[in-house]
Amino acid sequence: MPEARREPNRKGALNRPPIRFGDDPLLWASWLYYQEGMTQGAIAEVMNASRPTVNAYLADARAKRIVDISIAPEHMRTISIAKALEDHFGLDSCLVVPAQGGARTLIERLGNAAAGLLPHFVHAGDTVAISWGRTMLALACAARLEGLEDVTVVQATGGTTAKIAFAPETCATKFASNIGASCITISAPALVSTPQARDILMGEAVIRQQLAYLERLDCAVFGVSSLKPNSSIHGSGLFESVFQQYDYFDQAVGSLLGQFIDAAGQPVSGPLAHRFIGLTLDELLKVPTRMLVAGGADKMQSILATLRGGYVTMLVIDSDTAEGIVRALDIRPQNRLALVRRDSEQAAPAAPLRLSVKKFLNEPRDAVIEAMEGAIAAFPDYIEAIEGSPRAIRARHCHDAGPGKVGIVIGGGAGHEPGFLGYIGEGLADAAAIGNIFASPPPDRILSCTRAVDQGAGTLYIYGNYSGDVMNFDMAAELAKAEGIATRTIRTRDVIASWAFVDRDARRGTAGAIFVIKVAGAASARMESLEECERLARKANAACHTVGVALEPCSLPETRRPSFALEADDLEFGVGIHGEPGVQRQKLVAADRITDQMCDQLFTAMDLQEGQRVAVLVNSLGATPMLELMILNRRLQKRLSARGAQIHTTLLGHYCTALDMAGASITLMALDEELVSLLDAPCKGFAWQR
């Protein structure tokens, strides 16, 4: 616990809480009482408040549910992480901003939070340097300070040449005008062409005067740039000319005040050395207050390097990135909340780790081929092997299809049964290429499916958007083209992710593929052209949204071990269909509450409006029985009718699984007339007939 601030307060009232509590005295009091275990008397002293006030705060905190376990863990979590980072890096203070939530972007929220901290450390008469970048501009725009005399803002580095919105000069002038300070800009570029040019410029009296301000800084406010291709440093024009020749990934992981640093935060010398004009990293270390404002998973490495280099005394960061750092360093936040909770909720003893999962297997490596042979034997009216290969399967109806019908080839790894071979047949796909468990089929197998269904009208590939499938299908498409078969590709992307920065193109495909295959198959059965089949499949793909939840991991035949570890009372939210962990781990709650959470995300992602017609797929991920799917569906239908959505059709069962994973996914497909008619068309696959 850092010492409480005892600076004289204008009203002679409360001490200001340490930054990590925001400006919330209730949270501060709660922390001291429940986490630090202090007495109310001691807290009164720290807060500069009376004992009855503290008592009232604690009561208020309970009334406002700040210490209720359903809300408090989120607060406590960010504070715990902040404290862990403060302790580990010897920071004066750290503020962790929630990574998700609100309409504002992460950068805006970081800038806003940092701006709110300015009164804590900017005082009358201070000289403050500010660097540049998106986050700094957000901070500069959000900054407001009233009534501080004689504050000077200095541009921390020279300028950039490119016309960017967040250039050094813009950030400094905006910041200065918003906090009523005078502004010193640097009339030189941050990077000059030669060391000689630098010496000449630094010799100029005007520039020397400007740079002199950097020698008497009270605070420096800065961001850090990653060197990833999406980083703003690439658009800045700052390093454009040297970036290609600079072997940066060798050592450098980030750029701090326009200077490269390695993973330990040490300056990396290179062709840029002695050509930089501005606050050097050595000079930065001498500034008393140094605030880093940065966040986002892609900056993780560079933030860590900056912290390791000791450049930071105050940190403003988002919770995901902060948690990532804590995990990477294996420093565990002291979560005494767990001890508090144990009073009311006795923690169950950990279940003995299950080492092996029982399965019906012969030689595990033969599992896929044996399963496909069994499937072909079971459903001879629907499917048959192509040229004797049970992993290239086509529909029996192919024999009757006349020339000019577009071929639909689907495929992917095994382990999703009845996906995907259950969806070949009349009105569905024509052939499926099947890979190893959860692994894409190779190009030659996809090619033999393509040849088998080719009727001279081209072939449409439909598969999940995974890098392995993309590469193998693309190679197959090249081979098919060489044989004169035109192909088009639909990569299904129905999984919605809670990560704001994951765009639709990066989304994965899961159970929604079934609707896409149905639509494309119906279009192909109507003898539509390749272009029209592609358009309709693309439309169906855009209309599908899926979210999945796992209660238990799955296990692969070869390993027979759980693919990840999940505590007895945890669930994984946002899983796919490959046994991989989800986007978020959380406590297991009632089925209706889980369904609500899934609905919330789905409704938002698809912007579900009253009157919208939808198709519903409640799908088991393997081990979850029909009974539980029905329980989920009960709540789902309630939520849909509360929203005023019209349920056109509901599928419920094992449609697209992840081996023996316990869990379920919900897919909603937004329908219009065109999609309805295709969805309602007859079809005959062994997993779906209508």
Binding site: L227, K228, P229, F249, D250, V253, A263, A297, D298, M300, Q301, L304, D320, T321, E323, G324, R327, A328, D330, R365, G413, G435, N436, I437, F438, A439, S440, P441, P442, P443, D444, R445, Y466, S467, G468, M471, N472, M475, A497, W499, V502, A506, R508, P553, L556, E558, T559, R561, P562, S563, F564, G574, G576, H578, G579, E580, P581, V583
Partner: protein
């Protein structure tokens, strides 16, 4: 293998005695390398699957072991005579067997390596960086990953650079091999601090931090097998 590898070793020794520097990285050398890599990947099959289970779907060990086993089978059947031919066979065998994500990536890597080896033979023992650089280039072209994306490229690229830099700095073959293997090992460990930006692990974003990338781990196994094959050849030739 057995007597066959004994015969190969003898043959190599005679070759080296005949010409101690040139033509060591021939078809036999790469066939031996693929055998050793296949053995090591088979040993690590479950460990790699477990690593993959933490951030991916848990099949990586099987894909790699199965793919390299297919390569050694194909090489035995087809008995290639040049290093470039070895690479073409390896690419085809791996891709047909595995598919998955690693199939196209390694196939593209081997094909590019084959293109670079074509016409560059005979190769001295210190020139295996040419193979590594080819693999790295092919993998990058096919997968479009960038350095630092937490993929196998984060091992192949530094290893290739280490080998080529050491060679151009005049280091001896044994030293280059040891340095390259060490670089691959540490580059593999360094992937734990990175965030997955490619493949299935990318959905985990920062939850992937703290885990070594399975593709990088198997890449390091393959590169170490290459370096060990070089060292073993040099030992047979009595010139460590």
């Amino acid at each position: 293998m057995g007597s066959q590898s004994g015969f190969r070793a003898l043959e190599t020794m005679l070759q080296v005695l005949h010409d101690p520097v040139m033509d060591v990285l021939n078809a036999d050398f790469f066939a031996d390398f693929f055998c050793l890599a296949a053995d090591r990947l088979e040993e690590k099959r479950h460990a790699l699957c477990a690593l993959d289970g933490a951030i991916g779907d848990g099949d990586h060990g099987s894909s790699m072991a199965g793919g390299f086993a297919a390569i050694t089978r194909a090489l035995r059947q087809q008995n290639p005579t040049s290093a470039a031919e070895v690479m073409r066979i390896a690419a085809q065998a791996f891709l047909s067997e595995v598919g998955a994500t690693v199939g196209p990536l390694y196939a593209s890597g081997f094909l590019e390596a084959g293109r670079r080896l074509q016409g560059a033979e005979p190769l001295g023992p210190g020139q295996f960086g040419l193979f590594l650089a080819g693999c790295a280039e092919g993998i990058q072209q096919r997968g479009q990953a960038a350095p630092g994306d937490k993929t196998m490229l984060d091992v192949w690229l530094p290893a290739a650079q280490a080998a080529q830099r050491a060679a151009s700095a005049g280091a001896g073959p044994a030293e280059i091999a040891r340095l390259t293997a060490a670089t691959a090992r540490s580059a593999c460990e360094n992937t734990a601090a990175l965030i997955s930006l490619r493949g299935r692990a990318a959905r985990l974003q920062d939850r992937s931090i703290g885990h070594i990338d399975p593709g990088a781990a198997s890449g390091a196994v393959v590169i170490e097998a290459l370096c060990d094959t070089v060292l073993s050849r040099l030992r047979h030739a009595g010139s460590t």
